[in-house]
């Protein structure tokens, strides 16, 4: 609507754009001091207008509210689109952030469905350049069919060019042949049908095509307007179409994204550098279905190897010089003290809580490796690679992460399930988490397996880990299908960029974990060790008649099925307190001295190899330690599920133990 007054031509330009694209800066640059600030008619939202003159033209500039689209989602969006439709500015300048072109082009796509001239101000090209995004404005202009002006408004670059371009557009000297988004073929027919129904019924100044499109999008304002305007039969027909195509918004918006994709492919290059390229290259292997899995297995193998190759000898050293020496020192120093006090300190406190502390090196190494993997950004990849397997249990890859922690300790594994969003998936992960063999259980296996199996101990240990994981999968699968019911799992996951690990971050996390572990050893474990010692010493001081023995004898019938005597069952039972107690208990019960010296000979006399294998299997699969059970209760918030978890593991461990022993007997092996 180009007017002429005495001084020359007068035109109106509206500035559109998403929030934070520098639209206000452009407005200030264009209008300088000649601004007027008021409110949009009848609204509390600020309206800014201004004037500039160029080449004999007076240009009224109207700053529209910042909006992401032109759907009547918010007051701002309604103001912007009502202004464009009702006031019909001569040109709409849409300012876009070049560093977020994909997001910004959506508004452009919407603007192009209106019969107005559009000029694109490609702002913040400097930021885009810094982020490695290169946009060719000429190619973008040609693809869009619009004039495109590259700008850095904050540095007053491109504002003059924008003014010149606007002048050329007004004089009809610039090409404006927009390449508009199209909707999917199957919905084009539907749109045509709607256009036919609304033809001649749309109130001025709304464009009919636009109204039909907005109806298909389910725009509430336009729908309300047309419900009033259309006569009964036409509205019913239109309504029936809309009802049938409730999800047509996906076709309409999808068409816009398709269009954005075309524009971006034409004009944008991202010569990715540094972190991004490295991440892409590493991920070609790290997230590959086969190589990714092999890499994960390799990394896991390395972590365990480091943990046991370095940690286990350190554990033995601590055992010798801390626990054994400490107990010996107590006995010597307190030789004249009452027997119960010596027993309490040497056999209860030091043998119980002290032994647990010896596992510190193993935990430190394991958690340092884990912290490193997390800091590098590998954990998300591990979750992704494991996803297909977790998927079989109705879980997603994220559940793998707490389970992975379980190899260190089941307590953080159960707590770690907090990262799982779905309550059902979380419960399932908590229920299977104790089947991950933790360092404490593996330490017991590491001590006992060589006593029974000599050279084959490593093989037996590996077999036990494999058995645990297979059972984890089987139990998970059964729980998924039978108890909890399936849940559809389909996710999109964002993999963070890799980065160089920070020694301080890793060190700090290991330190904090170490402190937490020592606190636990100094409180809960210490208390329970004392209780267990008391049960083994009361009432008469003789272990054979102690309360512990009475409890063990109750379990003897089950033990008999696995070739295990009541002592072995008690050892198993005390592992409930802390897994390491198994060794300590066996030491006490077989009177073979502390820490397992000479325990081998004693055990060889009472256990057959098949019973020993059954015992190790039960030991690995048995109810987790008290701390884990407590955490299961805390995290599930239910005694019922906690009881279920305990019962489940009892059934699983005894079933496997009995099956191994009986099968070996039938096969005539190790009897």
């Amino acid at each position: 609507m180009v007017e002429r007054n005495a001084k020359g031509r007068v035109i109106t330009v509206a500035l559109a754009g998403q929030p934070n694209v520098g639209k206000s800066t452009v407005f200030n640059m264009l209008t300088g001091l000649s601004q007027h600030v008021g409110n949009w008619p009848g609204k509390t939202i600020e309206q800014r207008t201004g004037i500039y003159q160029y080449n004999g033209t007076t240009v009224h500039v109207v700053d529209l509210p910042g909006t992401y689209s032109l759907t009547a989602n918010s007051l701002e969006e309604r103001i912007a689109r009502d202004y464009i439709i009702e006031e019909r500015p001569d040109v709409v300048v849409v300012i876009v952030d070049a560093s977020a072109l994909e997001r910004n082009l959506y508004l452009v796509a919407e603007l192009l469905s209106l019969p107005i001239a559009v000029v694109l101000g490609l702002n913040m090209t400097d930021v885009a350049e810094q982020q490695g995004v290169r946009i060719d404005p000429h190619v973008l202009g040609a693809a869009l069919g619009l004039p495109v002006v590259p700008m850095v408004a904050s540095k007053n670059q491109g504002v003059r060019e924008l003014v010149e371009t606007l002048d050329r557009v007004i004089r009809g000297q610039a090409t404006f042949a927009p390449n508009r988004p199209e909707i999917r073929l199957d919905h084009r027919v539907v749109l045509a049908e709607l256009q036919r129904l609304v033809a001649g019924q749309v109130p001025d100044p709304y464009p009919e095509d636009w109204v039909a499109l907005k109806l298909l999008e389910g725009d509430e304002e336009v729908t309300g307007m047309m419900r009033e305007r259309l006569d009964g039969t036409h509205w019913e027909q239109a309504h029936a179409i809309l009802k049938r195509h409730e999800d047509a918004i996906l076709a309409v918006a999808g068409g816009r994204y398709e269009w954005i994709g075309r524009m971006v492919r034409a004009a944008v290059t991202r010569p990715r550098a540094g972190q991004v390229t490295l991440t892409d290259q590493v991920d070609q292997v790290a997230t590959h279905p086969l190589w990714g899995l092999l890499l994960l297995l390799g990394i896991l193998g390395l972590v365990f190897w480091l943990t046991y190759a370095i940690g286990a000898p350190l554990q033995e050293l601590l055992d010798t010089y801390l626990v054994q020496a400490g107990a010996g020192w107590v006995r010597e120093t307190l030789a004249s003290a009452p027997g119960w006090l010596v027993g309490l300190l040497a056999d209860g406190v030091i043998a119980g809580a002290g032994t647990v502390i010896t596992f510190l090196p193993i935990l430190v190494i394991f958690f340092a490796a884990l912290g490193l993997l997390e800091d590098v950004g590998y954990m998300a990849r591990a979750a992704y690679v494991m996803d297909r397997f977790m998927h079989l249990m109705g879980l997603h890859g994220k559940s793998f992460l707490p389970l992975f922690l379980g190899f260190g300790c089941n307590v953080p594994a159960v707590m770690g399930t907090r990262i799982i969003d779905s309550p059902r998936a979380r419960l399932l992960t908590i229920l299977v988490a104790p089947l991950v063999p933790c360092t404490a259980r593996m330490a017991v296996v590491a001590v006992l397996a060589p006593l029974f199996f000599g050279q084959a101990a490593a093989l037996v240990s590996l077999g036990l880990v494999g058995l645990s994981l297979v059972l984890l999968a089987v139990v998970g699968l059964l729980l998924h299908e039978l108890v909890l019911g399936g849940e559809h799992v389909a996710f999109i996951m964002e993999l963070p960029l890799y980065h160089v690990p920070n020694a301080r971050t890793v060190g700090l996390s290991v330190w904090q974990r170490m402190v937490a572990f020592l606190k636990k050893a100094g409180s809960i474990i210490l208390a329970v060790s004392v209780v267990v010692w008391a049960l083994s010493a009361l009432p008469g001081g003789d272990i054979e008649t102690s309360y512990l023995a009475q409890i063990g004898r109750l379990l003897a019938p089950v033990g008999a099925l696995m070739g295990l005597g009541w002592q072995m069952m008690v050892a198993l039972l005390t592992s409930f307190v802390a897994k390491e107690n198994t060794i300590a208990t066996l030491g006490i019960l077989y009177g073979a001295g502390e820490g397992g010296r000479g325990l081998g000979q004693a055990l060889a006399g009472v256990l057959t190899p098949s019973a020993a294998l059954a015992f190790l299997a039960v030991q690995v699969l048995f109810i987790p330690c008290a701390a884990t059970v407590a955490v299961v209760r805390q995290e599930t918030g239910s005694w019922r599920w906690t009881a279920f978890s305990v019962a489940l593991l009892l059934v699983v461990s005894f079933t496997v133990g009995i099956a191994i022993y009986q099968a070996a007997r039938l096969a005539g092996w190790g009897v």
Binding site: Y257, T287, D387, H396, L401, P412, D421, A490, F491, I492
Partner: protein
């Protein structure tokens, strides 16, 4: 495009952004726009960044080795119902039983 994205996700399992962007031949930035759009319209559901508010109360919060494995989005029932062609393949027997149960109600 949005429909194709939903269908790709509805095949089940976890997809990475780069994998989906490659499949749809769009930039990862555009894919993110579409994900956000589908989330706004209720076809996808954002799942909290790695560890949500539950983790804030966790005793291990400061030392958690799981950290923040990136943002995730889950396909919603609404999104699933749009991808009829692929729907039956991904249902597990447990889920089918549950749906039958709901129908009976």
């Amino acid at each position: 495009m949005l429909q194709r994205l939903l269908e790709a996700v509805a095949r089940g399992g976890t997809h990475t952004r780069s994998e989906l962007a490659r499949e749809l031949r769009v930039s990862q930035e555009l894919l993110q726009e579409m994900i956000d759009d589908l989330a706004r319209r209720g076809y996808l559901r954002p799942m909290g960044e790695g560890c949500d508010e539950r983790c804030a109360a966790c005793l291990l919060h400061d030392t958690c080795a799981i950290g923040s494995p990136g943002r995730m989005w889950a396909l919603t029932e609404k999104g699933l119902s749009l991808t009829r062609g692929t729907r039956n393949r991904i249902r597990s027997p447990g889920e089918r039983a549950r749906i039958r149960g709901e129908r009976r109600k």
